[in-house]
């Protein structure tokens, strides 16, 4: 196994650990006194973490000049989507048990749910167009489409921010992470437009 393959599989293993832990704790009865809330929190937090990891790939590649890192990006994005699906399924099946009327009311009336749903709907086309075939077929438009991931990251953090009652440390940290990651991109985009000196 090459070093890169090792890194790649280590990331997959680490990313799947929370899901595996949830399954394991289901059998050991360790999902806390409120399992549905715990599963919702765990899948949501993991999805956000992986989404931010996805956005870290490009700045990291530019800063370290390790171009092969870009090959991790799709995998991280799909793992984020996997947890977003679990998060969504938890809400639909465990939290509301397919109570469509209540879920619809929630999406319309509760801004944090609206934000969560928006995030999920933004991620769907990105996951759907992540195959090599789609990348080829869409050409330039693929990159334009996939800029939606920036919007999804922002709506995901807002979704988190709006459900917190008083302790904003975590959402604040994620917002800060996004600022840093977007800051790199903005800086590089700006520099690319300026005439080169010397």
């Amino acid at each position: 196994m090459t070093r890169f393959a090792f890194v790649r599989w280590s990331i997959v293993a680490a990313a799947l650990a929370p899901a595996a832990a949830l399954v394991y704790w289901t059998f050991t009865g360790d999902l806390t006194a409120n399992p549905i809330d715990f599963i919702t929190d765990t899948t949501g937090t993991t999805a956000l973490t992986l989404l931010v990891c996805t956005l870290t790939v490009t700045p990291l590649r530019r800063l370290t000049a390790h171009n092969e890192l870009v090959r991790l990006r799709r995998m991280l994005g799909l793992l984020a989507f996997f947890y977003a699906c679990l998060h969504m399924l938890t809400w639909v099946v465990l939290d509301w048990f397919f109570d469509v009327a209540s879920m619809t009311a929630d999406v319309v009336q509760r801004p944090f749910i609206t934000m969560g749903m928006t995030t999920f709907l933004l991620l769907v086309p990105l996951a759907a167009t992540s195959t090599a075939g789609m990348i080829r077929r869409l050409g330039r438009r693929w990159q334009q489409l996939h800029r939606l991931v920036y919007v999804a990251a922002i709506t995901a953090v807002i979704h988190f921010w709006w459900i917190v009652k008083a302790d904003f440390r975590q959402p604040r940290l994620w917002a800060l992470a996004l600022c840093v990651l977007f800051g790199f991109r903005a800086w590089w985009a700006l520099r690319a437009r300026l005439p080169t000196r010397g």
């Binding site: 704790w25 006194a33 409120n34 809330d37 801004p111 302790d167």
Partner: protein, 319 residues
């Protein structure tokens, strides 16, 4: 052969109180570390094998009124899933951190519009009252609920004995504010110390109790030891924990959650399925241990007892 008497012990030989309290803290901490190490391999934030103080049975607890035949939540559920931000904002933080709280000696300052402001030792304050078991529903503002067998006595009896002045219209409670014992206080999540309050008629209502126990045993620290308020028809955060101060006043108390966000958490905070939290619905709740949500009941099902307290009030305005 002359046998000498052992020298008499003098009061100065007795270990100073401050020292043995510290020592007990140390032993508790050491025990917690041991338990922590033993459970380090079990999943984070869950599992029954967490640091617990010794469980002590309370003597002479008789059955109290207002019971329910609903299924009780387990001791484990009640002591492992807590909102007690002084020990951290995660649900399992209180269970993990509350061993640092020293509940004896403990004093409660009574002040404000009262005949004789004074500081009471908790044991002398509690002693006159017969302990009752009160099985109440607890509805959290976060839309989950439990059924809990508290042990306590009516707050009304304490108030009568303390003799507030006729001008006292409200009663205000304050939680301990000591960051050495409560690590959550280092984070400015709320404007510490935690303050709660009731209108005098709410405080005098027979459903309102001060609790010192749970499941017939001494109240665990994470549930608000040594003494807490329980007001079952209001959202859980009204039932303030680890009380160190009771103040009688003619002004509506500035309660912590209302100070943090007045639009979301009102002074009254009666359980009310028809008035939503601005960010989520209060129409239903999840009873811990059940899969399907259940409908939330007006005044948490205690409407027959308390609805008349709010006759003529617009509960949308006074939420």
């Amino acid at each position: 052969m002359l046998i000498r008497n052992a020298p008499d012990l003098r009061y100065s030989d007795v270990t100073p109180k401050a020292l043995y309290v510290r020592r007990r803290e140390f032993i508790q901490a050491a025990a917690a570390v041991a338990v922590g190490a033993a459970t380090a391999l079990s999943p984070a934030g869950s599992g029954p094998a967490r640091a617990q103080g010794a469980r002590v049975k309370l003597p002479n607890v008789r059955k109290g009124p207002f019971g329910t035949d609903e299924k009780l939540n387990s001791y484990d559920d009640i002591t492992s899933y807590n909102n007690y931000y002084e020990f951290g904002t995660d649900k399992d933080d209180p269970q993990r951190n509350a061993h640092r709280l020293v509940t004896r000696p403990w004093t409660i300052r009574v002040e404000g519009l009262v005949k004789a402001p004074a500081t009471y030792d908790i044991d002398s304050l509690v002693k006159p009252y017969a302990l009752e078991e009160r099985i109440y529903r607890l509805r959290c503002v976060e839309a989950w609920s439990m059924v809990i067998p508290w042990v306590g006595f009516p707050l009304a009896e304490v108030i009568k004995r303390l003799e507030p002045l006729p001008s006292a219209r409200y009663i205000e409670f304050t939680t301990l504010n000591d960051a050495k014992q409560m690590p959550g206080l280092r984070v400015p999540v709320l404007d510490w110390p935690y303050v709660e309050g009731l209108r005098m008629d709410e405080a005098m209502h027979p459903l309102t109790i001060l609790s010192v126990g749970l499941y017939g045993e001494v109240l665990p620290n994470q549930n608000g030891a040594p003494i807490r308020l329980v007001v079952p028809w209001k959202y859980g955060f009204k039932s303030i924990k680890s009380i160190v101060r009771i103040r009688f006043t003619d002004q509506q108390p500035r309660t912590s959650w209302a100070v943090a966000n007045a639009r979301e958490y009102g002074f009254y905070s009666n359980v009310n399925p028809t008035v939503d939290h601005p960010r989520w619905s209060q129409a239903s709740e999840r009873r811990l241990g059940e899969f399907f949500r259940r409908k939330t009941l007006m005044f948490n099902g205690y409407g027959d007892q308390v609805a008349q307290l709010y006759a003529g009030m617009d509960l949308r305005k006074f939420y």
